[in-house]
Symmetry: D2
Subunit: 255 residues, 4 copies
């Protein structure tokens, strides 16, 4: 059975808004407004247990999912939301063995999900022009144990990829149309690309360029997510809702 180790990430969970991800070795004592949690004492215990704080408050200790890990990375730079990532993964058919190109790396959050899905036999090649972003991403991927499935390149995707015959390409840069020819050259025929852009103007310009570059099955979508507060006799949609994150544009390479 899976037990908590010194270097295992643990999710300390109280509710949707009060949760922490730490490693007992790094954070032997977690200070929260609900009291102090002795994380060191959790080593050797199974996931799923309930632990008490110094104020006698109860917290559940869970194994973080890849979604938890991605959201944890959110605080530093903007990341693609899980609702959008899920759709991208399904539409691009990312799975074990896939070879994926990404530009740019950013915080490495999307890279991490890609690596998690393509491992052990697949690989992610992620291009980034900013050295500080790449360094941060490298640290994030290393901490998640996913670095071996990723090659980080400090280079501009617009100049071209070193790789060939990728199964899929993820574009998360401000001017994705500029990188389209590079992606086209390095994708296998029938390979899928997904681009993430906040504005309608970007989506418009990108779609135009994708048609020029003979991509087909070109479509732009937006994904909205709303919580339902399901409670006996008082069920209602949540007032809190994110109105917009990004448009997702997809296309497939033809010869």
């Amino acid at each position: 059975m899976d037990v908590i180790g010194e270097n295992t990430f643990i999710l300390v969970y109280r509710d949707r808004r009060r949760k922490w991800i730490v490693r007992p070795g790094e954070t032997p004592r977690l200070h929260t407004h609900l009291g102090i949690l002795d994380c060191k004492a959790l080593v050797g215990e199974p996931f799923g247990i309930t632990a008490k704080t110094s104020l006698n408050d109860e917290l559940v200790i869970l194994k973080p999912t890849i979604e938890d890990m991605i959201l944890k990375l959110t605080r530093r730079t903007q990341v693609i939301y899980p609702k959008d990532l899920g759709m991208i993964m399904v539409k691009c058919g990312i799975h074990s063995g896939s070879m994926v190109l990404e530009s740019g790396t950013g915080s490495g959050a999307t890279t991490a999900l890609l690596a998690y899905l393509v491992m052990p036999s697949g690989h992610v090649f992620s291009y980034e022009v900013r050295g500080d972003f790449q360094e941060n991403a490298r640290k994030n991927l290393a901490r998640l144990g996913l670095l071996e499935f990723v090659t980080l390149r400090l280079s501009d995707a617009k100049e071209g990829f070193q790789e060939k015959d990728a199964d899929a390409g993820i574009l998360d840069i401000g001017d994705p149309w500029e990188a389209l020819p590079s992606f086209r050259r390095s994708l296998r025929p029938s390979g899928v690309i997904a681009a993430v852009t906040p504005t309608t103007n970007q989506a418009e310009r990108l779609v135009e360029k994708m048609k020029e570059e003979r991509f087909v099955a070109v479509e732009t979508i937006e994904i909205l997510m709303r919580h339902l507060e399901a409670r006996s006799g008082m069920t209602r949609p949540s007032n809190a809702m994110v109105g917009h994150t990004a448009y997702l544009t997809f296309g497939r390479k033809t010869l």
Copy 2:
């Protein structure tokens, strides 16, 4: 390079609404209102080529994605939509090596995506009470080459699973609350379940029962998807939109 074989599925693509999935061996000549396509002649060709019909109309030949394959299965029974599946996969952290429980099997569409993601080292155990559904699902999975990653059981999940320590559980039955104790017993601690229910009443009853069964991080969401018709100077959201598919309820097992 990936070439088309007799038994390869090919996606014959014209636009979002006019597309077909066939195998050259089974469908040597594809009759469409755009003319007849000689599929036999495509054998040996690479994906991504453009082929002409007897009416001189152009069709693109693509390698179907797992999403294409799932949507193809839609015609027979109701399936979970890609927008919902994507979210489920990310929130449950399904990937290569995962062991997943499913109830029920239905058409096998969700089973297929699960198998596609957990292979080669993971496995899906899918329970179904209707023999005809199971047979249809078996045929679908076999055609997709995914059957070896799935064990289909003709049994009611409410009576219990034979397996233990599953990483995730997917509930796609009308009364998921009845199967919760079975899932609880056969999930590893901290394992995630996802349930798909069309009505608010089901979500309400399920959430209540999940709390009784000490699941945490319980949340119900709905995912809405809308197309953006991105066209130079004329960009607008699509009029056509599916207003509702299902609510997705998630939770994690505690000890």
Copy 3:
């Protein structure tokens, strides 16, 4: 009490999708797939009664609301949806006594609602360049008994309005930015304008021009409407949904 007359519009109602608006004098016998309804026999009866068809099917006879009348006009040309009209009316503060400018008249559906709200002491001045549209709108308004509260002008709003100090202006034309200076000159200070445009490009260009013309409180919104199928124990949002009608842009004139 309100009774049905020869020239009264009646709403023959079966359900959300099967309903007819007729006048007994014009349509003494209404042929439907549910049988023939003797409308002539309804004269002198109160609204709210149930009548039987020749096939013994029951239909309810209601007094049409202004929304029913607007939707009836939909079949001929595109009209602004009630969900959008409601928001426009509240944001523009249209009520009895208001003086409103409109461009263009179209089918007269919006004009009709405006007239209905401003009467008896207010007035609507509606400009239209196409004579056939204007004639159709005139007929529609006359049939609704609202023509006396409307002045229809066969003229281009971009050339200017004859009127001054209007309380509000409604723009339902393809290039509303071109008519902004006219509206500005003929609105009272602090008067509100509302423009209806399907595309993001139009909204973008309009907002830019509105700021140039020193309108303030400029905002663009979209209104989405979804039905909830509320049924005991089986409540769920409707699958059928209109994904997009138009963006609504508002602004207020400053000196």
Copy 4:
């Protein structure tokens, strides 16, 4: 021309989030974080002018719309949102001369919009059981100059209305199904009711009861509103969005 008086409400406007409604007589000097505005000095000036604060910041002085006034009342108790009110007004066909029943009065915000639309010849009868709510509503309506079009009754609508043959009825109470028989008795045949309920359970129970009470054209909807941030080359939907306010249920009385 409309000029500002001592007792006129003025909207001091900076942007969507920074705006104030005051009367110069009551608030001769308005203190804001943008400086102090000399409201007294605005008396005699036309609406639409720009005024400077003590910190030399510019504010626009507008005539508040009925929507502004309703939103101003929001701070004290929960009110129906403009997006929902617009739909209610159009679907109920509220206009000059309408006679409307309301239960409960609450802050008087909906009552104010109803009065604004039915005046000068129509009337609103608003029932409320809490004396403190009624007093607050009376003050609000008096300040808006709308009290003469409203009769406020300190009485429970469930016990029955004193009035007969109302054109429309608005239900904004927690258990609207209990008041349905009263509304039914006091509506004219074919009259429309609109109920506002936050939960799906309330909508479900209400719809059931409406069918028992032989209301027809029963439907429940939700209205979602999202801002579009329209900016040259950078247009995108707003991140900020209210996910849910209330379900609106409509029906019409049959005999």
